[in-house]
Symmetry: C2
Subunit: 539 residues, 2 copies
């Protein structure tokens, strides 16, 4: 269960104390991806998995293999490429699910199957329509079955908070006997408190006879704003694995936030006495990457990684005067990998200057990607003279982080609008056959007009469900990033599942051009997904 | 200390249990307003104060009177208009501060002065450069002095978490003896945990001999994502006042969130056994109002009031099938005042239909405001045929929530842009002398071009520090809301303070027109503030 990560930056040689090592189980790609509108494709998930591995995450929950071919392929591909982390696949307590997970995890160096069942009477009687004993048996069987394929099996006791305690203890004892190496105690409703949840974990430690043979994991939701506190209460009472997502993304009010737990443990060593294997300097770059790929912005006042959170602490360091110095380690932005935003580039920086800065910022690009980024860099430098860190992030996101093939290419867009005009847009688009098509349309505004013009060329009926612009803070001529989400009228069908929502992003100093790019991105992504689904249906 | 709010919707007649009544101390207008870019003017603060009063807040911390004439006037005006809530003014432990607060609170029905001092050695030695005994004396003197003016004095023990406990107890005992009615224990660094903070409050209850003569208050920050949990831990250990802000706004990662605490207490009555005087159906409208006036958006996954938080729960009610029913009260969106978003209006709805819907949504407009809103409503209805709840909110925000006089009026804007064009804008602006001025300029994009064109007319040098668009979710032809923040080159000077940052908002189906409106709003606000400062300087 414990990874051999002695070389981890947070642990001294010879000082490994297994009792004080917390396992970080990241479920950004599974529970986090259930955030409304977050949908990632396989390549994006693989990219994120690599970054999580570099960061020192212990376990990556890569997906729910039986749920869709896309999820299956993601778990499979991640299993093939990730070598250090445990790779985990979620299942219900059904043989079919476990078969799918086992198959997807086949090439993993360190596979884990995550199965489980409800343990509250409400779940057992109403959801599963069975008895306590039968449910217990089902859980045991699932664990035994999973153990045929892998040595590492995690068991979730769904709705543990409302279960009859004695029954819960019996279930946990039985599944551990059957071979579960980790038992996951979730706060399913998101309404527990640290005192209550800590007591639950404590009672499990005290009442499950063989609990020392497994690791206790906690999985908290943030409906009352207490996910982090509840998770830490679990650790204080004997849990040693925490289930988290980057930026706390997830359904409703989200999951427990990875960066909050990691930094709470680090800054309050005196209180918790626990360590993780995470390289905290990767926190900020990974936070940005997740935000970019999911299209979910990080609010300015997000703890740890929000713009206001670290802007203030840099103020403390810039001042000569000591403000609130503290015996606790104040979070230095450099501790979490926030780049020095003072560095500005211009066209004169050239390839070498750009390459150097990109490396500093933690981006790794192949030659092809670099050339695309360099080309955009020159365009932006030409328009606004200086190119700062935010502009670079937007350019890299556009040119080097696209994980599907573009079918239609936007060659030109022209718009006129105003409060007494009829907003009108003309677009020039090159199709898959190499033909350039030009068309125009009007709308209620320039963005509406440009999307309608694009629709006239591409003809993919959809409804826009979200349009947002990442706040620009570097001056009005800065590169703005637009995120668009569409709901396709004609969904992509995979294995009985329908996928309708597709997100797109685009950036430019011109917000209307950025919107056009974002809309094209979403449509191209939809078209690529449909083509892939059709290809799979034939195999 | 306890308000006579027997008629409060959350308390039954004859069942008032003072021991179980939690006082809500709202500091949105003081600590919350310190959020980067939040700056509210006096009229906006007064508007918010009225809404907080209607909501059942017990204490409104209206400002820091000695800090600026603007703050002084806000506390003064709120004192004059608010009748039910306690109105509170912040001070340092200086006579000058207390004099200012007393003067500002002069007309309040229920005034409170909030003073205090550091209690940690770090604060005493390095910040105050004095001794423990002298600091204690200073604190006692401040309370005695404040008691000359008001009967209700709150004392903050800054950095209590790092104070020598015995010293802390002595300070609290001394200030209560001197007449403090409330003692405020803040988590100054934002790094405490529920266990640690709860123990601190418990130790105060157990070690301060006269603590039963005062209410213990807690004031938590969210740097590690635990403000709500720490606050509730304080309540579980004997505190009976909580200091919160709407939407959890504030510096860095923000303050403890009002809606999270109130709804945690309400949904987990079984756990906490405590009540507030808050009408929870006001939570959502007040959240929206604070977001609008401060220009700080609420992220989709914000607990309680985020769009994802209540969208999901409405899904549970729409399904015939029971999903996760629970013995806890699931938060029904109607419980927190989320309007039924299904209602759509059109031009045919007429004045009557619009008036009815606005009342349903909780807006109160005078005739003048209603006519402006109706005019905009017809424009939008003409463009996009249907007008939904979000569109209405944007229209009301533009037309009925402007709390300063407009100097320059935008009469027309015309723009052309595109990736091969030079973005160009022409604007027609009517100035204070009634003259219409027309000018044009180019830029790196349409928004940049329109701002430069406006600059040519108005000539108020500034730098744009933020440009953001509220996510539009109702279709691409929906009304989009833009927020802009500018930093004036020539600051507004008041009483030795310099104010540079001004925010503006604007909405339209055309994002470029909305941006132009937002920029004009910010400039007009700046000009009005400068004019007001000059007027005061002459008096």
């Amino acid at each position: 269960m414990i990874k051999d990560r002695e070389e981890s930056l947070n642990m001294d040689e010879g000082e490994i104390d297994i009792q004080n090592r917390v396992i970080i189980f990241d479920t950004t790609l599974r529970d986090g991806e259930q955030s409304p509108g977050a949908a990632l494709n396989v390549s994006e998930k693989v990219e994120l998995a690599h970054k999580l591995e570099e960061m020192g995450i212990d376990v990556i929950e890569a997906g729910f293999p039986v749920s869709s071919p896309g999820d299956f392929r993601a778990v499979q591909q991640i299993s093939r490429e990730i070598r250090d982390c445990v790779v985990c696949g979620l299942t219900r307590a059904h043989r079919k699910d476990i078969d799918a997970a086992a198959a997807a995890l086949e090439d993993a160096a360190r596979p884990r199957i995550h199965t489980g069942l409800g343990v509250s009477d409400s779940h057992i009687f109403h959801k599963l329509r069975t008895t306590r004993e039968e449910a217990l048996e089902r859980g045991v069987e699932a664990v035994k079955y999973a153990r045929r394929f892998v040595d590492d099996v995690q068991y979730y006791a769904e709705d543990a908070g409302r279960a009859d305690p004695e029954y819960l203890y019996r279930v946990l004892e039985a599944v551990i006997t059957a071979g579960a190496t980790v038992v996951n105690i979730p706060d399913t409703t998101g309404y527990t408190s640290p005192g209550e949840f800590g007591a639950l974990i404590r009672s499990i430690v005290e009442n499950v006879p063989n609990v020392d043979r497994a690791t206790i994991s906690v999985h908290c939701h943030n409906d009352l704003g207490m996910a982090t506190a509840n998770t830490l209460a679990g650790l204080l009472n004997g849990a040693r694995q925490v289930e988290v997502t980057v930026n706390g993304i997830g359904e409703r009010a989200g999951n427990c936030s990875l960066e909050e737990v990691v930094m709470a443990l680090r800054t309050r060593q005196d209180l918790f006495g626990l360590r993780t294997g995470v390289d905290t300097r990767r926190i900020y770059p990974v936070s940005r990457l997740v935000s970019t790929l999911t299209g979910i912005p990080v609010q300015p006042n997000k703890a740890i990684v929000g713009a206001n959170a670290f802007a203030h602490s840099s103020g403390i360091h810039q001042d000569g005067v000591l403000k609130e110095r503290t015996t606790y380690e104040i979070i230095d932005p450099r501790d979490i990998g926030v780049p020095d935003s003072e560095i500005i580039l211009s066209a004169r920086s050239g390839r070498a200057g750009l390459r150097h800065r990109l490396t500093e910022l933690g981006y790794t690009l192949d030659d092809d990607q670099f050339e695309k980024v360099y080309g955009r860099f020159l365009e932006v430098a030409d328009k606004k003279k200086t190119v700062d860190t935010r502009d670079l992030e937007a350019i890299v996101n556009d040119e080097a982080r696209v994980f599907f093939d573009e079918t239609y290419h936007l060659e030109q867009v022209q718009v006129s609008c105003g409060d007494r005009s009829i907003p009108t847009a003309t677009v020039h688009i090159r199709g898959p056959d190499g033909q350039s098509i030009c068309d125009a349309d009007h709308g209620t505004g320039p963005v509406d007009a440009v999307c309608r013009a694009i629709d006239r060329v591409i003809g993919e009926s959809n409804e826009l469900t979200e349009f947002s612009v990442q706040a620009v803070t570097e001056g009005i001529d800065a590169v703005g990033s637009v995120t668009i989400r569409i709901q396709a009228e004609d969904p992509v069908r995979e294995n009985g599942n329908e996928r309708r929502v597709f997100s797109g992003r685009g950036s430019d100093t011109d917000i209307v051009v950025a919107s056009a790019k974002a809309y094209m991105f979403a449509l191209n992504r939809l078209i690529a997904a449909r083509r892939e689904a059709e290809r799979l249906a034939k195999t």
